[in-house]
Symmetry: D2
Subunit: 361 residues, 4 copies
């Protein structure tokens, strides 16, 4: 920048009048040397969340318009918006005994992850899907869906959506369906599972191209077995079965393509042996973690955050993350990594060209 | 063609002398209006096959050089070559009590399908994989493999390979490994299954690009459940769960990509309710079927062939096939369809441009 | 929503205290029935832009820190940020006689499009690329680049980047290179063009996987010829040569893949015959247009905007756009469509399920 | 194999009677350690070919049934079939002044490469395409095509097809079109070129999915310029512009995908500076080369074959090939490499696991 010159101030005013802005005063903000998120690392306690959700259960009805009794994590770094990270929406949804969440559909991709309870069926494109502890249920963009609680108690679960991303892109579409759900059957397994829930098997009746996962539910029984198997293989002498010592993990995928189960959200389940550590790393992606069982410590840049059952942690892009398991620790995680990968933008501190000696040409 | 002219005969001789051949005398043979395979539809009886394999079991040792006690289906239309179809090799392999088939590897892709028996482990890239009734086991090209029989009886199974295709392409590579297998552990489940045998779940420890299926075994328990589920869904009112009335079917796929489990061979399991029919169709692909259970009739162009447990049927390209199930009929099938699809060549009588009114331009 | 209840207000305060926000008060804003962009359709006049850029040329030096003398379009609907649309940055860059823009690189993807003038070379990964009227020049993310003006006059051009998108994703990386450019050769054609600028030809020396376009420059000579050919084919009786009557258009692609030349930005050139009309349509994508030659009218929802040489128009997502050409009208266009397509989000009013009779299930 | 035993001979007879063949007597032939093609490396002299084609021009009419006056290279190692290699058909086609080759279409993929002459138009899906020295013209599978000679002299060119591959797969489809071609316009450039022959530019009017190249002709002007540019870049100090010192080369690709122009045949043009050498290598693919200009020596395993203008050389799979250019040498080459790559079978002596220390597991 030159010495300040009144003619420059005048030019800047003139630019402003013409809906123009100079780069030279903003370059550093627009193009920092690495991500400087406004979002901050943050933990929400499950006890608080659940108690507030239960209060809402008494006060706020579920119905047309509001559509869902969901309470969203609002990152303290992103004031007045219900964004856990700049791309991800995360909420606790609470459905009382005999309540019904009305049918709608939207372009936003969604999943449900169940920390505890049962008795609710989510109906996705007419297929009723039981929701139980540890299960992951999908609602890909533009699928019709509603929920009903047939159990004898309220139920609360985690909803994850790409609402902030779709909003940033002005890509929202929404349509109302029926106000209630007539047929409240309670099948053990959904059609999606019956057709697609067999390892490595594709039904010949399926259409040729399937871009979103036709597997409507990923059951805890399978997730648990997969994690158990990895740790057993490690214990039996195969270090390649795990991502690092004592750290098993699976990604939830579309069985028709092997890719992420949703096009904009990656979902994973992690298990750390008591005492294991996920070593520190950074990535150009944001994520939200929920503790399924166990206790541990998240090291987020300079902060150290203790977590226990149900607690949620938001991790902005390029935050350094390390995790210590105090006892055996099961963690559900979702992130916007597929967005970065599909756009050719994903970097980690291991692959960052600036960090790895790429030199000026 | 012109009236015959001695100068033309002379020209043809001259061409021959120069290692040249005229198109005008051969065009119809080289470019028929539709495939005219030399291979013929053919059935082999399991009783014959098994009896001859058992005799071989007494007379022919298994060992280095011959490598395997395998007896191949030789299509009567393809004399002197052990080709079930022009691209597929199919054989019964027989391994006696305490025998070992030595370790080797080759560029040919292979699978084993087990009609009956147990007690054999196939070791693929050091991973011992139990072989039991109804299981499909993979040996992708260039994987090391050997077998050992720890049971108290001989065991026979179906081997399928792309030997004729790889031969037609001059693409064979082969390497000897150890003559025997030292470590004869008998794990219930292989590492491949432990890591990849969970529906929709991908281990995070896996390498990024996986072109051949890492799922080493497709267990009968899962295949059976998938077929059962499709027929139950159909019975419950969902006609899209099956490919046609009373006909359930699954394809064995690579869980990392959703594509065929082997790059050159498609494998499927079919179940027909008693009385169901697979309607007549043609495709530009060849296949081999094996009856797993039940009895039925294959209609192959003008022939009607009765089949029962273990019987094998070769179906050349563009043969019209229909199948009637006399009682509940389970059929294993493998074909060279992926070769056609990957090369942009696959046609059925429903998609054949000549048949569907493509007009001359 | 229930009748207002003081306990609900109290609950909302409690939520706020815990960094939580209820969905039921915000659902309509978060999930509207179709996109409701804050950005507005807007036109910037080239005469204003150029005059202000020239003034900046006198007052503001180019150099380290500010890096570029670029003036960005600031959408009036998006206050205080230099965003033409929520994903796209568009600016006029101005480089005086003998000036040098210093070398840097960044994760943001960039292109330059030249309305007028010549004499500047942009050096991308050490390859000097001449910039001339009608040319499109690429700077894919993380390529080193600087510019020098060897002509006898200042030069101004359009810069397009994905700065807002990369910012919304917290995916910025930036690195300084040398402050100046030593070697100021002025080759007619860059190495990228010499290797890749031949239709349908791929150099065998190229690496196998090429995700961003290796073709550094798309010359006006080729673009003009392609547009001319389409209109000639249409005139000769081939209506399929154009997208609609009198409307020729090309997309700038990566010759190694056929896909978009940049992973996040689609670039196109359009030509309308005098009197031709691009009929009204909406898409879930935002774009910026620049008039290269001619005059016309943009119909943007209810507004009618006259445009002439050099004028720029920002079109937010889901804006209805129609275009009338007063005389032969050449338009450069860039958009964020690849982002939508790669994420499975792209919709037009022709493909919107809500508009096309998708019914509630 | 055991000591010979009459019971084994009897078993073998019994197997034969049941259309079965034992592996143990054939394993080495079926699964050699590397390809042992029956096809042999062979050279055909252009002078011979052209003289015989001209004689055929006098004696053999072109017309319905025989369809084309084409003389095919018949590999001496593959008796009685017109196969240059086990997958590739190569022929000289000869069309006299004012002759017409009738319209037909077939599933086989085809191209024409023009060594010399002009005056013929090939009409592919109604688009007349001029054929001139150095041009490559495509006829993808199932496209209608015929040819007419409007020049004042006969014309001969190289035809390349995948006839042997399609035959080995029993995948032939063929349909007759009109016996003659009514409209004999002689446009300089075909519609395919007008739409797609601009570097890096895709017409917006094109359909979304294009699996075979829409670029009907690759003109010598462009091919020559691309080769020239690579050698100039090398001379200017860029060793990465060429594949090895003095060796420029381009692949003919589908501009809509960047992949091979035909799904089963790779086509390339090579230029060696006088004195340059292509070093020895092997690949699991077969190919045919034609000298366009210059003289050189092909080293094929132990043989050394001199070649000059128009001469053709067949190279079976896994043959070691090196090439020396005596003077500047332009070589057209086509191969079945895409078949191997698409099936995951392609190996070179540099990537062969057996050769590169893959060890037994």
């Amino acid at each position: 920048m030159p010495d300040w010159d009144p003619r420059i101030a005048e030019l800047h005013q003139e630019l402003d009048k013409h809906d123009l802005l100079p780069l030279w005063t903003q370059r550093e903000d627009l193009m920092p040397t690495h991500p400087l998120p406004a979002a901050v690392p943050h933990r929400w306690r499950w006890a608080d969340l659940y108690e507030l959700a239960a209060r809402a259960g008494e006060l706020v009805p579920v119905g047309r318009g509001g559509e869902r009794r969901a309470i969203a994590l609002a990152n303290p770094g992103l004031p007045n918006v219900p964004h856990a990270t700049p791309t991800l929406w995360a909420a606790v949804q609470y459905l009382g005994f005999h309540e019904v969440a009305p049918v709608h559909r939207h372009s936003q991709n969604a999943f449900r992850f169940v920390l505890e309870g049962d008795g609710v069926w989510t109906v996705v494109d007419r297929d009723p899907i039981a929701m139980r502890r540890g299960d992951l249920l999908l609602t890909p963009g533009w699928a019709w869906h509603g929920h009903y609680n047939t159990g004898d108690a309220p139920m609360a679960w985690l909803d994850g959506l790409d609402i902030p991303l779709i909003g940033a892109l002005d890509n929202e579409f929404f349509q109302f369906g029926p106000d209630t759900i007539g047929d409240r059957t309670t099948p053990e397994r959904s059609s999606g599972e019956l057709l697609w829930g067999h390892p490595g098997l594709r039904p010949l009746s399926a259409p040729r191209d399937i871009s979103t996962s036709p597997l409507s539910a990923y059951r805890w029984e399978h997730t648990d077995a997969a994690l158990t198997a990895q740790l057993e293989l490690e214990a039996a002498g195969n270090p390649h079965a795990v991502t690092c010592p004592g750290h098993a993990a699976v990604r939830f995928t579309n069985p028709a393509t092997g890719g992420d189960a949703l096009s904009t959200i990656r979902m994973e389940m992690h298990r750390l042996r008591a005492g294991a550590r996920v070593p520190a790393s950074r990535e150009s992606a944001s994520s939200v973690w929920q503790v399924f069982t166990g206790t541990g410590v998240f090291h987020l840049d300079a902060e150290h955050v203790e977590v226990g059952r149900g607690d949620l942690v938001a991790v902005p892009s390029w935050t350094e993350v390390a995790i210590d398991a105090m006892d055996e620790l099961d963690l559900f995680r979702f992130s916007d990594t597929p967005v970065r990968e599909r756009l050719g933008l994903y970097l980690t501190d291991a692959t960052n060209p600036a960090a790895t000696g790429g030199t000026a040409r």
